[in-house]
Amino acid sequence: MSDVNTAMVQKYRNDFLKEVEENVEEGHWVKMCMQCGVCSGSCPFGPDWAHPPQEIFMMIRAGKRDEVLTTESMWMCTSCYNCIVRCPRELPITHIMHGLANYAHRLGIAPKMNPTRRFSIIFWNNITKTGRVNELALSLKLYFMDGFMSGIKNAMAMASVGIGMLKTKRLNPFALINHKGVKNPKQLHVLLKKAREIEDRRKGIAS
């Protein structure tokens, strides 16, 4: 367990709802849930969740900290926003799901091999490096996420799409070495570092 995680367990003891309210994006909405179940029923990925959103909200209130923060459930969210549209109390459920996933990740207890988490890390590192997404590098990194052999397989499966994009000039193979980022990526890194500092200070996380 990470130090941040230990510190948060110490700080909030048995009050997981309070911990969520103070540290998770839009977490203060959790207590507004009236357990009607429309979100869970509306989720297109619903059948694949170990715990649908409605259950996660109840688990938060029941103080099931480890179960919530280590589950893969909220990583399933595809941001379709069906739940937000239908929620009779207008809870920003999609945002809360992402907030929970992000918080679990910050604490270092999110499921390590969860593909959404791994993609998010790859994407974040890719975009923050130069300030613009290097799409070719991102795709290749994604193909080879699970090792060399599966990478080759993935690339072969997508070959016809890649050739088509190449022909219509939607893909520039030289972008791999000659990617055009923002004018001053160093300044961007300073900016992001500062933003992280501010967020950590607000949440009481010692970085």
Binding site: Q35, G37, V38, S42, P47, H51, E55, P88
Partner: protein, 430 residues
């Protein structure tokens, strides 16, 4: 009919439903002069459209008969039907009111013999049956309608059918030259009892009321049980007319929802509990007949708890604690499929039913802020009672989502407030 003599000691009651009737009768029985204005061709309102009352499961027609006797016996009430209040101005003890009276094309000679309806060929949607049935364009609003007088629908005026109706009438009761007219009267106090209307179910997009014929509202379901209703008292599916035996009820359809009505409509839980008993009444011990009530929480308050317990004990009625997420239709069978996750165990379900009844929410027929300047509306548009005496007094469902019992209480309270105002006026003038 329109020679209404009113003074500033007269009380105007707007709306002839259960609340308006009650308020008018109670003020008149206290010796006050009353002008009762009703938009429809008959008094009775939505209560007259009910098959049974909860929790006693008795017939509303019984109470209506008593109220009509009181109304007929009371000379102090001047009833204006097909009339709408278009403007209210003034203050306590001194209101100027404009009333627009729409032509009925039938005068007081009418004996309700029905000869005009037989002569007319054109059919129109029957508003009394929420447009689920067609009636002739010359019609009696419903069997117990008061006044017992036919109405010629304005859509046939000027057509051959209208002339046929006139020719068929032996009593010279049909006057096709009647015109809309507006009258101005003075009154001392106003009781506003315009009641409620069902929330527009088509706005609840995931439930497909506008797409699936077998998704209906609770008010429509109520009409099906009436022997004179659109299905002759049988629970039939609108899609194919087959008997509906496996019936779902969805609670909070439009209520307690920030996308629709934020308030709890209060009556819908009891209405569905009541309607679930219709299935036993209709099918007896038929094992196929069952009701499933999908709910967030059942709000059966006070003495209604006993009724809830009784329905819970009924083997034909099943409760699922879940707000249904969406409804789809089986195109081959016309059955509706309800999708969701239940809160007791988080089990996913896709349940098939013959018919789905939306326990539809209540909204005010007229928003309070459209009545007059000094009438305060709450967030839902109901009349908010303020302490300043002598303004316009709300009664019944114009003030809140109420059941019949509470609407009548509210109407009696409004009657007392209005009497106090006109008493002050008369003592000041004495």
């Amino acid at each position: 009919m329109t020679d209404v003599v009113a003074t500033n000691e007269t009380i105007l009651v707007v709306g002839g439903g259960i609340s308006g009737l009650t308020a008018a009768l109670e003020t008149a029985e206290c010796g006050k002069d009353v002008v009762l204005v009703e938009k429809n061709p008959s008094v009775g309102g939505r209560v007259a459209q009910l098959y049974k009352y909860f929790p006693k499961l008795c017939r509303p027609s019984c109470g209506q008969e008593i109220n009509l006797r009181r109304l007929k016996a009371n000379k102090r009430i001047r009833l204006l039907t097909m009339a709408e209040v278009t403007n209210v101005e003034g203050a306590a003890g001194n209101y100027d009111v404009s009333i627009t009276i729409h032509p009925r094309y039938v005068n007081e000679n009418c004996t309700s013999c029905g000869a005009c309806a037989e002569a007319v060929a054109v059919e129109i949607d029957d508003p009394f049956n929420y447009n689920m049935k067609k009636i002739k364009a010359a019609y009696l609003p419903y069997n117990m309608a008061y006044p017992q007088r036919y109405v010629i629908d304005p859509s046939i005026i000027g057509s051959e059918d209208a002339n046929k109706a006139k020719a068929a009438c032996k009593y010279d009761a049909i006057d096709l030259d009647m015109q809309e007219q507006t009258i101005e009267i003075k009154v001392g106090a106003v009781i506003w009892a315009t009641g409620w209307r069902p929330y527009d179910a088509a706005k609840i997009q995931p439930y497909g009321y506008d797409r699936y014929p077998n998704v209906i509202t609770s008010v429509e379901f109520e009409r099906m049980m009436d022997p004179f209703g659109p299905t002759g008292g049988k629970l039939l599916r609108p899609s194919d007319g087959k008997e509906a035996k496996n019936i779902a009820f969805i609670q909070c359809a439009g209520s307690r929802d920030r996308n629709h009505l934020t308030h709890c409509s209060r009556i819908c839980c009891m209405a569905s509990l009541k309607q679930s008993t219709y299935i036993g009444e209709q099918y007896g011990d038929d094992a196929e007949a069952k009701a499933t009530i999908y709910y967030i929480d059942i709000r059966a308050i006070d003495r209604f708890e006993d009724f809830y317990k009784k329905v819970q004990a009924d083997e034909k009625v099943q409760f699922v604690k879940s707000k249904v997420a969406n409804i789809t239709e089986n195109r081959d069978t016309g059955e509706v499929v309800l999708h969701g996750v239940d809160t007791e165990g988080y089990h996913r379900y896709d349940n098939t039913h013959d018919l789905c009844v939306l326990a539809i929410g209540m909204e005010p027929s007229v928003r309070a802020d459209q009545i007059a300047d000094n009438v305060a509306a709450d967030a839902a548009g109901f009349i908010q009672m303020n302490g300043a005496g002598g303004t316009i007094f709300g009664a019944g469902c114009a003030t809140n989502a109420l059941d019949v019992n509470r609407a009548v209480q509210s109407a009696t309270a409004a009657a007392l407030r209005a009497i106090q105002v006109v008493n002050r006026v008369s003592s000041a003038e004495a």
